[in-house]
């Protein structure tokens, strides 16, 4: 039976209230951003050096987010679950780095042989984070692989609390100050631009790690198997891939990357605390979504973008609006980006439309 439904002419008649609301939301955000930016730029309160500092800081921050985001994106790609405890694995890495660095510092190795000790600290922290990630997978996720979606999410929240408060109980609840590398104090001048040495180290180290990881996923047999499992878990199993092993490898790599991120974070901020993993964790997830979840280059790109926005955004946009203490609101910028991406482009910058297809 075919009934001719009169289609109203003119696109505006088909707009629902919801769409109007969403459009208003979009326009409001764009107007606010433009207004704030022009306001700041016209006032010209900041010199180009300040901008460059913020830019480099954003880059190093973003590199750390990108390293954490890799773990989220790989696990989501394979298991379609948010590894809520991933931020805490990062925190464990930072704590391990703290104890390793202190042990080296006491023996004078820390400043005597910085390259060696940085390598040792990185290796130890990555190892411990890797083991923690595997433990979490074994205890909290593997028994629940066939349960409905909400169940592993709650279990992950439980794991996150458990790790945080276990670290608090074991190592104390205060902030611990991280020893400083003498050689990384001060600035290097590149192309006439002064760059803080720690930030340069962070950027270079994370670039190296990410390249290694990218090559691993794209070039090795295990990496190919990982991509296959993420594409279709059943077919991969039929092709003779040991899915359990691949999941373990995924968690291991994600954990190691988070551990490395923990070391770099501690280098920049020079303190560790048991709750430090929560916000970077959520922001790294934002980065993963921003780049398109399940997509490894996307996570790297998303992390860098997020770091830049977060660092440059407050003074670029909010300062021009006349908001006092704009830096207080840098997390608001990050979360607003998260919400905007989820609402308007859940596929992220590089991703496919996962949210519709698989969520």
């Amino acid at each position: 039976m075919s009934v001719a439904i009169p289609v109203p002419r003119g696109w505006w008649r088909r707009l629902s209230v919801v769409e109007l609301y969403l459009w208003a939301f979009r326009i409001a955000v764009v107007v606010i951003v433009l207004w704030g930016t022009t306001g700041t730029l016209r006032a010209g309160r900041y010199t180009s050096e300040v901008w460059i500092d913020f830019f480099v800081f954003g880059l190093s921050q973003g590199a750390i987010y990108a390293l954490i985001a890799l773990g989220y994106t790989m696990v989501y790609g394979i298991l379609r679950m948010i590894n809520f405890a991933h931020g805490d694995i990062f925190m464990v890495g930072a704590y391990t780095a703290f104890y390793a660095a202190r042990a080296l510092h006491v023996r004078g190795l820390f400043n005597g042989n910085p390259a060696f000790s940085l390598a040792v600290v990185l290796a130890v922290a990555m190892g411990v984070s890797l083991v923690t990630a595997l433990l979490v997978e074994r205890v909290a996720y593997r028994p629940l692989r066939r349960a409905p979606r909400l169940v592993p999410l709650i279990s992950a929240i439980g794991a996150s609390f458990f790790i945080e408060y276990a670290v608090r109980g074991l190592y104390g609840s205060g902030y611990q100050a991280y020893p400083e590398f003498e050689i990384f104090k001060g600035e290097w001048v590149l192309l006439g631009i002064g760059v803080l040495r720690t930030q340069a180290v962070v950027i270079v180290a994370s670039l190296l790690l990410m390249t290694a990881l990218y090559l691993f996923v794209m070039r090795t047999k295990t990496g190919t198997a990982m991509r296959a499992v993420s594409e279709d878990i059943e077919v991969a199993a039929l092709m003779g891939i040991n899915v359990d092993r691949i999941i373990v490898v995924t968690f291991a790599i994600g954990g190691a990357a988070a551990g490395a991120a923990g070391v770099l974070y501690a280098l920049v901020f020079k303190q560790v605390h048991f709750f430090m993993g929560f916000y970077p964790g959520i922001k790294a997830f934002t980065a993963a979504v921003l780049g398109g979840i399940g997509n490894i280059p996307g996570a790297m790109l998303g992390g860098v973008f997020l770091g830049l926005f977060e660092s440059v955004g407050p003074i670029l946009v909010l300062d021009g609006l006349g908001i006092p203490a704009p830096y207080q609101l840098k997390d608001v910028i990050a979360f607003t980006m998260l919400v905007m991406v989820l609402i308007f482009r859940p596929s992220g910058i590089l991703g496919e439309r996962l949210a519709q297809k698989k969520a």
Binding site: S16, V18, Y21, L22, R80, M81, I82, Y99, V139, A140, P143, L144, R146, A147, P148, R149, L150, V151, P152, L153, I154, S155, I157, G158, A159, F161, F162, E164, Y165, A166, R168, G169, L170, Y171, G172, I233, E234, I282, F285, T286, V289, I323, P324, A325, Q328, L329, D331, V332, F335, T336, L338, V339, L342, I343, P346, A355, Q356, K357, K358, A359
Partner: protein, 561 residues
């Protein structure tokens, strides 16, 4: 496979695992804190008890696969206890060889004195032997007949609960007439040995009676005509209402405070249950609505400069209901198109944005920034001032009852069915003619109202409103409590609130370990009993059916739709 072919290996592994657990518990600081709590005065304190329980647990889990061969079961239990004891002994030896305190804050000399019964390294064989003996006892539990096992676990459970909560129980027994009883059972620090025997006896008797009588009672209730059954239920409900109304008179301000808090979380749980349990909309920013209610009441009733108006609490609460409804709808509108995990993260982001904005200097002139809104007066009704927790308890119970009733009626209404249809499959629900936009917005709006009422009561309970009270932890707590109680189940919300809010409040002195235990409990709960403590019938059927009958491949496909 290895379980049957290599029992020794398995026993060894069990022992190592539980021993590592014991070492963790010790280094995390739990043992030392618990040791400060005498369970039975002069006989055993909490720290030792915890270690012994762990040994018994090792024995139990080592004996379980061998349950059909009693001798082997007890033997392997003892062996695993020995191994666990050796692991703990190794920690003691390590601690005497090198200072651990630089790294582990809890690794104090007192801790190792507790672990080694005050003897240092020389106690190593003692630790191992104690572990073996206790584990053998634990393993023997498996071999014993079921009825005796039930009796024993009732006794141990009652002793543990009353021993741990003895201060609170003693608070309840403050009346003069009860003093002789109190002094018989309790000392200043814990149970007296006589009291422990008494409690063990009573709980064993009750448990025995229950075992004998339960089938008979069940049969009698089943034999009643439907009218009689309904009358029985009515009597039960009336009795519990009466009990609730006189409760604050008996329990005093401390318990009333705890109960009010449980009530507030129940209210929030009912609201979130409506969103997550009924409609399947996973919301981690729920605390924003709680904050909306609290801030509305705060700004409308406060006596400070921030006041927008000076209404009475009652009319401010009505405004709060409207404000939180609007907040819910505005919050829901942008996220209408987002599903599943993404929705959880988007709402989490929203909740944090709101908290950060409230906290910032930017909105300080209107919302008070980090100092919040102070000086909120208590509600007054016909000259009766709801001064403290004992009085606010009535408001909370009243609000909870009304809202639970609304929630129950909503669940069985057309709207409730539409929510559940949407929870099962959005696309199919839409195809069946459900207007997803309206139904979703109603879920957000009504859920927000419940949370807003809770916030309104919270504001007067505390007397002030700070942004720090509205962290994402609250949202996660509420989500956890409805899941622990059982998703979509209304009594489950109350049970969940009692367990996850009430119990930790009572165990305040262990508040450092609250979230540690909480995290472990969430994981254990999801693995062992994902349907919750008091599941709705549908949920129970669903979870068990899915796990047992659907092959893994189909499961994945069904989820990807």
């Amino acid at each position: 496979m290895t379980a049957t072919s290599r029992p020794w290996r398995r026993t060894l592994r069990t022992g190592l695992l539980w021993g590592t657990g014991a070492v963790f518990v010790a280094l995390v600081g739990l043992v030392e804190v618990l040791q400060g709590k005498e369970i039975i005065t002069g006989v055993i304190a909490g720290g030792h008890l915890l270690m012994l329980l762990l040994a018994a647990g090792a024995g139990l889990s080592a004996a379980r696969p061998q349950a059909h061969r009693p001798g082997v079961a007890v033997g392997s239990a003892a062996a695993s206890g020995l191994v666990a004891g050796l692991v703990v002994g190794a920690l003691v030896a390590l601690a005497s060889a090198m200072p651990l305190r630089g790294m582990f804050v809890a690794a104090s000399p007192e801790l190792f004195a507790i672990l080694s019964f005050g003897r240092g390294v020389a106690a190593l064989p003692w630790i191992a032997l104690t572990g073996a003996a206790v584990a053998a006892g634990g393993g023997a539990l498996i071999v014993l007949p079921r009825a005796i096992r039930a009796l024993l676990s009732a006794m141990i459970g009652a002793l543990l609960v009353i021993g741990l909560l003895h201060e609170q129980v003693q608070l309840l027994l403050q009346a003069d007439r009860l003093t002789p009883l109190r002094e018989l059972v309790f000392s200043f620090e814990g149970l007296t040995p006589v009291g422990a025997l008494l409690i063990a006896g009573v709980s064993a008797a009750v448990s025995g009676l229950w075992q004998v009588q339960r089938p008979r009672m069940g049969a009698r209730i089943a034999a009643l005509p439907p009218q009689g059954r309904r009358r029985l239920r009515l009597v039960g409900m009336l009795a519990s209402v009466l009990g609730l109304l006189v409760l604050p008179l008996f329990v005093g301000p401390f318990f009333s405070q705890v109960l009010v808090l449980v009530g507030l979380y129940t209210l929030m749980g009912l609201g979130l249950n409506l969103e997550v349990g009924f409609a399947g909309l996973l919301d981690l920013g729920f605390v924003a609505f709680f904050a909306a209610g609290a801030y509305t009441v705060g700004l409308l009733t406060t006596g400070t400069d921030l006041a927008v108006a000076s209404l009475s609490w009652w009319s401010a609460m009505l405004v709060a209901v409207v404000v939180s409804l609007i907040a819910g709808v505005f919050f829901g509108l942008p996220v209408l198109g987002i599903r599943g995990d993404y929705l959880a993260i988007a709402t989490l982001g929203f909740g944090e944005i709101i908290r950060l904005l409230v906290l910032s200097d930017f909105l300080r002139p209107w919302l008070g920034g980090s100092q919040g809104v102070l000086g909120i007066p208590k509600p007054v009704l016909f000259g009766f001032e709801f001064r403290g927790p004992e009085q606010l308890f009535f408001i909370t119970v009243g609000a909870s009852a009304v809202i639970a009733f609304i929630a129950a009626r909503l669940r069985d209404s057309r709207l409730g069915r539409a929510w559940m249809a949407m929870r099962e499959d959005e696309d199919v629900a839409q195809a069946m003619g459900i207007n997803l936009v309206n139904v979703k917005l109603l879920a957000y709006g009504i859920g927000a109202i419940f949370a807003g009422v809770s916030g309104a009561i919270f504001a007067v309970m505390v007397g002030s409103v700070f942004p720090h009270s509205f962290s994402v932890l609250v949202s996660i707590n509420v989500l956890a409590l409805i899941i622990v109680g059982g998703m979509g189940s209304l009594p489950g919300v109350v049970v969940g609130a009692l367990f996850l809010v009430g119990l930790p409040e009572l165990l305040r002195e262990f508040s450092d370990f609250r979230y540690l235990v909480y995290g472990a409990a969430l994981m254990a709960m999801m693995i062992l009993r994902p349907e919750g403590l008091w599941p709705s019938a549908a949920q129970r059927r669903e979870l068990h059916e899915e796990i047992e009958t659907v092959p893994p491949g189909e499961m994945i496909e069904a989820e990807e739709v």
